[in-house]
Structures are given as C-alpha cells and as structure tokens.
Symmetry: C2
Amino acid sequence: MQSYIDLSYQPGKSDVVCLFRVEPAVNVSLEKAVDAIAGESSIGTWTDISTMSEEIRDRLRPRAFSVDSSSGLVKIAYPLELFEPGNIPQLLSSVAGNIFGMKHVENLRLEDITLPEKYVKSFPGPLFGVGGIRRMLEIPLRPIVGTIVKPKVGLSPTAWRDAAREALAGGCDFVKDDENLTSQDFCPFDERAKLALGMIHSLEGSTARRFGYGCNISGSVETMVKRAEYIKRNGGRYMMIDVVTVGFAGLQYMRNLNTGLAIHAHRAMHAAITRNKKHGISMIVLAKLCRLAGVDQLHIGTAVGKMEGPAEEVAQIKDEMLDTSGKWRGLKTVFPVCSGGLHQGLIPDLMKLMGNDIIIQAGGGVYGHPDSPKAGAASMRQAVDAVMEGKSIEEYAKSHAELRRALEKFSA
Amino acid sequence: MQSYIDLSYQPGKSDVVCLFRVEPAVNVSLEKAVDAIAGESSIGTWTDISTMSEEIRDRLRPRAFSVDSSSGLVKIAYPLELFEPGNIPQLLSSVAGNIFGMKHVENLRLEDITLPEKYVKSFPGPLFGVGGIRRMLEIPLRPIVGTIVKPKVGLSPTAWRDAAREALAGGCDFVKDDENLTSQDFCPFDERAKLALGMIHSLEGSTARRFGYGCNISGSVETMVKRAEYIKRNGGRYMMIDVVTVGFAGLQYMRNLNTGLAIHAHRAMHAAITRNKKHGISMIVLAKLCRLAGVDQLHIGTAVGKMEGPAEEVAQIKDEMLDTSGKWRGLKTVFPVCSGGLHQGLIPDLMKLMGNDIIIQAGGGVYGHPDSPKAGAASMRQAVDAVMEGKSIEEYAKSHAELRRALEKFSA
C-alpha cells in the first residue's frame, strides 16, 4: 500500500491539520504507525480492498507532512471534504476515533487541531462571548467572581438558595450548581431553580447589581430542554452543562436551539481523556470544540489550585478562548473559568498568569471562610479589587477584615 | 476532616459501588488520595465549610470499604440518593468527574461499577436485545455476519449501495456505515440511506432473507432526529450512533424517543478513555452504561483483530451484555459486536472465545477478498458455517472456493 507520508506536502487553507504525539508499539516503526493512523482516521483499511479507487485516494487521502522521530510529533493534513460541516461527533469519530485503540501504537495523543475557516464558519460559536457576558452582568473590566454553592450536594432547595444569597450579597457576581447536582430528591431542579432565581431578582432589585446563576441542566436531552425552558420561564440567564459527560451531540443541540440562555460549561471527566501526556486528547482540542459548539464560559483550569494542569497549558487555552483573530471567523470568544481549589491567597498569582478576562470561581474559598459565606464572598472580591488597584493582598487585608481572616486560614 | 474510609462498612442494596485503581501522587498516602477521591465524587470540598451539616454527612457520605495498598484497588460505596434516576451524565459527573484531574493522584482508573437494581430500573435498556434482533433478522442461532462497507469514506451513494448489495447477496446479514461516514458531499446521508434501503427491500423480495443496515446518524441531536425519521420513512430497521463522540445525553435521548429503530452502537474514541490500564474508565463501565441507555448492538472488541483489548476483558464485556440475571432487572441484553481487522482465518478462534451470540463484522475481510466482495461475504459465512458444523475451516475450504481463496490471502 502507498504511504500517506509526504514530507514535501504543504498544507493548504482547506486542510484540517492534526498534531499527534505518536509512540509506536514495540517492533513497529514510527512510519508504519503513522501510516496506520492516517489511514484509519480517513480512507484506509488494514488490507487492500477492491472497492478503493485512484480517484477516491487522490481526492481524500491524508498526508503526514511532518514526522519528528525524536519527539514522536506528527502532523497530518486531512482534506476538508472528509468532514461534515457543523458536526463535532463526526470530526472526533474521524481524527480521534478508532486510532487510539490500534495495536500499532503504544500511546497516541491528539495534541492540537487546526481547522479551516470554512469549517469554523459552519458552527454558531458562543451566543454571548466575553463581551456579551460582561454587558449582561454589567461588569466591564475586572474578573467576574463566582462561587460554587457547597457542599457539592446535600442542601435542600431553600438551604441552597440561602447559601447562594449570602455569596451574592457578600460580593460574588455568579453562583452555580456543582457538576454532580442536577435533580436529586434532596434538591429537585425546579424547586431549586425557582427559589434561586427568585432570590436573584429580589437581590437585584435591592442592590442594583446583576447576577448570574449557572443551573446545571445536565441529563438526557429531553430533560435538558425542559430545564432550559424552566429557567427561561423563571427569568434566568444561564444554563450550565457538564459538556464532557453530556457529550457534543447534546451540547451542540442545546446551543443550536437558540434558547437565549448563556451556556456555562463544566468539564467534569475531561481529565480521564486529557490528563495523560502520552495518550488521549489534549484540553486545548476539547476547548476549541467547545468554542465551535458555542459555550460562553468554560472551565479551563487554574494553574494554581487543586487540579493538575501546567500554567503554560492553562494560559494557552485561555488565549485561544479569547482569540479574536481571523481564524475564528468572527465566532465570539469564550469566557475562561478558573475553578478548583481557589482561595483568596491565590488570586494575585492567578490574575498575574491569566489577566482580567477570566471568571474566578471559589467554592471552598467562600463557604470555608472562618466567619461566614458572606465574608468569604466579600474577601474574594477584596482580593480581586486589591490586584485591580495594584496593591498587595497583604496590604489590602490591613483595612479589610474579611480578607485578613481569609488569608489567616487559607494562606497559613 | 473525618475520613471516608470505613473498612467495617458492608455495602447495601441501595449503594452504588465503584471499583477504582488508585495511584497516589508522590508524597501522598493511599489513604489521603482515597479520601480526596471519595469526597470530590460526592459531598466533599478541599476545606471545611460552614454550610455542611452532620445530617447531610450522615445521609450522603461515601464509604471506602475496601482499600488494597498493594494493588491500589479501592471500593467506594455511594448512597443511591446521590444520583438522579435515568441520568447517565450525572452519574459520570459524580463518580467519574473531577476526580481524574486531582493533584492527589498520579493515575486513577474507574475499573467497574455496580448499580442498585432500583437505579437500573430507572433506565429503559435496549428496545430489541439479542432475542429481538434475532427475530427481526430471522437468524435464530448462528452469529450474525456483518460488514462495514469499505473504503471507510469516499464512495458515492450509488457506489455505496452497489458495494453493500454485493456483500448482502454474497451472504452477509448486516451492512453498516463506517464511524466517520455521516453526510459528506461525496455521499449525502439521505441519498445513501434511500438507495441502500431500497436495495435491501428489493433483495429481501428476491431472496426471502432479512437484512439490517446500520445508517450512521451521528451528529448534533436535531440532525440525528431528522435522520432517524428519514430511516423510518424509508423502511429501515436500524440507526447507528457513535456513542462516545455523540455522548450519553444524545444517546439516551435517541433511545427515549422510542423510534422503533434498533440502535447499533459504534464506540469510536473509547480507547482515548479506556486503553490506559492505570488511568481513565474501563470499557466494561462504558458498556454497562450503554446497556442502561439502551443500545441493541455494541462494539466490544475482537480479542483477535487489529485493535488492542485482552481476550479476557472482551469476554467479560460480552458476558455482561448477555447477562440475564436479576441484577439487570429485566433490561434486555445487548448484542456484542466484534469488529476491527477480522477476517475469515480468525473466525474459529473468535467463536471459540466468544460463542455464537455475537455479531461478527469484517470490512477488509469482505472488500479485500481477492476475487470480489461477494466472494468475501460468502467466505465469511462459510467460515461461520464451518464452525457451526464442527468442521475446521481448512477442511471446509476444500469444498468452498471462496473460503479457500480468502485463507490464501489473509492467513498466509
């Protein structure tokens, strides 16, 4: 069989280019592994077949145009014709499908993907993006401060509402359900959403501030649709979706419905796929697909909290979500969400690494404050305000008791 | 904080029990890692919080009741109340969510999951199951023989139909799209489905046999619904779904719609999650979730073909899909599909390992036959018939030219 390796090939504007990290199986050459990967992800079969034609091969064959034997990094260009517009499952089934299970490789990782502008244009992208979210919440410049109501599960709807109210009254802009809270007997979705959204409307009236609530609608699609409609009817602004466990078919559908709700995307389970540096799919690839599908806010890591993820990688994802260059064909930006083990003491480092166009979420940092959730929320905002004013949080804490108390606990 | 480890605990009938393989991070004890995992997958936070109560903790806390420090195997029991009935994304976001990304672990794998009967009952399970599929195709005992029309992509609708006809006329019972063929310009879905289903109806008239066609509907949910309706209108029996790249929200929805179509589940991309033996989620867990969701046919591996997957693991998944014990609460069985690099020479070993209640799919084995796809299909059936008659394929090949020619090529 003819090889798909063609080092003289220069990828064109209508190629999908995938960067793979390939570790061939024992006794398999890198070239053989690359040919197997290129074929299995496009037009190939393990044996020569009578129904194949030169015409198909000429038009649709992939080309591995860069093969680095020391790193195992390989770039493969695929003609755009191989892919159905607007269909993320089909893209993944092609370039991230069977290949991970082939005997030719010991490990295989899809590190990055570059998509032709024509393909990008076949997706809606975010409904709001950073600008739209900032206008909706009337927060023009600083990071948005959010919290995850804790404990993750177990609060009744009224207890949930009260805990959320404390955080918002204290200074948070955004509250959300945790990824594993949907509609359990102890806290049914409708009851929680209705109480929380009612509380928000009342608090907005008395404070002249604006708030967001990421209600977790994750479930089978008919359930998500019902929940999104319920949120709309109750004047909510957001639906939260666990994008990896829900999957791209459901996520795309909820965006394509044009409900008018912003999508807060939690990435629970991503690390089952993204964490191993030799195998699986990188978070940058998943994040790009989430932007195509059209999430408005996406958890991307913290670089400084309880979850793994090197700072450079998190910053790279952030840059990609905020990129407004032509390659995104006008698709709106995605608000990067930093969440997971964050507390007041980590804010200066976080903002130095990530800038101001981020959503900073702290659950334990708010609900674990030694005095109260309200003080927790206030101190989170104080930490952000300190950085915005160019002051150190230690200095700021001298005149802000909530922050001082927080730092005593969390930065001890 | 109080530990979730309770070695004296005996899991009850209403516990969800997860078997994890835990490799703690450097300088983290197994016990500390287990506590972090148990908490993050249920009610815990990284710090103590003021909104937590004894009552919540008593009612909802998980218990790690088995911790083996030599293997790292850990069993955690979760109260059923933590989980929303009929919601696979919520289950995964809980017990297979954030935990894979925690710094406390170097690697973490969800090896198995045991679900309470009450939870199992909250799902529909397969519409047909093995018995229903066998009745539909009128094949009571032997393995069903299928093929994937090759090349994977590139054929026009008429070329696809003609290639499929050859395979069915030659002896295959089932034809299917490949995982990366949905609706590309060279082969639009509607045109392909209409031509293929028309061909099938005509061939059924002239042969008195029954055939199945797994049309790949994978895409955003509105697209899948349209395609399923189109298949129904054109008299089809199956929809094929790439279950991993589509995701569980979309899969559950398509089953819950009760279209009357059987679901053929391709598992493209599973190995990004399942392959690493130290990290991710095992295929047995994904397969159990697919049975809950209600697929009728599921790719489970071959143990003998081009894809990795130890024979014992593949056999274990097969047994689980065919299990009719009380734990499945009457949910129908799933027809295990063996697919990937199979050819005539591998059939005896495959059937010895897997038995007769399987669907054997060969793409290259049919379309790579030296004479024709028709001869390829005929020889696949001959190999199966030989085993059913207790004969060796070499002996059978003496009086069956198609099989002889196949073995000359594939078993050389």
